[in-house]
């Protein structure tokens, strides 16, 4: 993404320089129109223009001004429905049953993140909200795993 804010850093040498963006963030898409760079700005990395175009397309689909559009929400809803159908398909999958549970957990995680990020608009919100929710979530996962490990150890 082109430099729109500070322009402080210089392009690093070697491989790291290939995907470098002057915002110091690799491939981070803009979140609102306000962050959409002017198309006249010079791009600094080989994929910069493509990545930036994709970013702006994403923003156009997702942000009317500050909030995503109804069309974006419908798209997310359809994707979530397709993932649910995939889960059902994976549940009935007759081969390599050992892979089924990891696939189901992965699909569930994708749905979870999509609802939090887009429907609960955590992606568009203040980082403090992400921290508040993330803290509880990480604590819950850690607590659950500890409980499971403890009981499996006790039961041999």
């Amino acid at each position: 993404m082109p430099d729109t804010t500070h322009g402080k850093s210089e392009r690093p040498r070697g491989l790291a320089g290939l995907f470098w963006q002057s915002s110091d963030r690799y491939f981070q898409l803009p979140k609102t129109y306000a962050e959409t760079p002017s198309p006249t700005v010079k791009y600094e990395n080989p994929l910069g223009r493509t990545v930036d175009r994709l970013g702006r397309l994403w923003v156009r689909l997702s942000s009317g001004d500050r909030h995503p559009t109804a069309r974006f929400y419908w798209t997310v809803g359809i994707v979530l429905s397709v993932i649910t159908a995939l889960e059902l398909w994976a549940y009935n999958w007759p081969f390599a049953r050992v892979l089924v549970n990891p696939i189901l957990l992965a699909l569930s995680a994708v749905k979870f993140v999509m609802v939090i990020g887009f429907f609960m608009h955590l992606r568009f919100d203040h980082p403090l909200f992400r921290a508040l929710f993330g803290f509880g979530l990480i604590l819950a996962i850690a607590m659950s795993l500890s409980l499971l490990l403890l009981f499996f150890k006790l039961n041999g």
């Binding site: 009317g64 909030h67 995503p68 559009t69 109804a70 929400y73 419908w74 997310v76 809803g77 979530l80 429905s81 649910t84 889960e87 059902l88 994976a90 549940y91 549970n101 189901l104 957990l105 699909l107 569930s108 749905k111 979870f112 609802v115 939090i116 887009f118 429907f119 609960m120 909200f129 508040l132 929710f133 993330g134 803290f135 509880g136 979530l137 604590l139 819950a140 996962i141 607590m143 659950s144 409980l147 499971l148 009981f151």
Partner: protein, 247 residues
């Protein structure tokens, strides 16, 4: 709200962990592979997922200062939530018929505790949504329409469930049909009244904020169900008796 939802993560995390700890530990049936019906639960999961979509569309409508659209999607969210609850009532009833209650075995205890608490959260969410829809209705005509539509919807819902599951004896057969038809008529007439152009909302940002907070709670209930559906239904549905007892 985010702090509250973070604490709710720990609440449901502990319930899910407890379910997993006691998974495959029941000494007597019914076991999950005998009673869990994944296709039916998939439909109810889809309904809850669509209610989340309706919720964001409601918020989107209010933020764009389109109160009628916002109210329509708010009511649609509450309706889909109620349909989800009806599926849960149906499932609990079927399980009870098969002999699984919270007292039967460890599976029954952990399953009913987890899904029961989730159902209680959904019920609270439906009440919050209906209150929000009432706030968006300003004129007497709209309020009457809302009461008729909501009352009619629940009358149809309860009549159908009571007749189908035969859980409320006085409502089986003809009384259920009468209540269902009256409820449907009230729903249609209430919907007609609600189609009136609502009075302009002056405090859009406050209304949007209130709905946003309600929406966050509703989406949280949805993500909890995403985990429950995967862990309790898809992954555990084929669980039988513990290895020592099998055969």
């Amino acid at each position: 709200m985010w702090t509250f939802l973070g604490s709710e993560c720990m609440f449901f995390g502990s319930l899910i962990a407890t379910y997993l700890v006691y998974r495959n530990q029941s000494l007597k049936g019914p076991y999950p592979d005998e009673i869990i019906d994944v296709p039916i639960t998939s439909v109810s999961t889809f309904v809850l997922l669509m209610s989340s979509l309706a919720m964001v569309l409601a918020l989107n409508g209010i933020q764009r200062n389109m109160p009628r659209l916002g109210r329509f999607w708010t009511l649609m969210t509450a309706a889909l939530g109620s349909v989800f609850l009806s599926f849960q009532v149906f499932e609990f009833h079927e399980f009870a018929q098969e002999g699984l209650t919270p007292r039967t075995n460890l599976f029954g205890t952990t399953f009913f505790t987890l899904t029961g608490f989730h159902g209680a959260h959904v019920t609270l969410g439906v009440v919050m949504l209906l209150l929000m829809a009432f706030v968006f209705s300003r004129s007497n005509r709209e309020k009457l329409g809302l009461l008729l539509a909501v009352g009619g919807f629940f009358a149809v819902d309860v009549a159908l469930l009571a007749n189908w599951l035969e859980i409320i004896t006085p409502l089986i057969g003809a009384p259920a049909y009468v209540i269902g038809v009256l409820g449907a008529a009230a729903l249609v007439y209430g919907g007609y009244l609600l189609m009136a152009k609502p009075a302009a909302v002056t405090n859009v940002s406050t209304q949007a904020e209130n709905l946003e907070i309600t929406g966050l709670y509703w989406h949280f209930v949805d993500i909890v169900w995403i985990v429950i559906f995967t862990v309790v239904y898809l992954i555990s549905a084929n669980d039988g008796p513990p290895h020592g007892l099998a055969g």
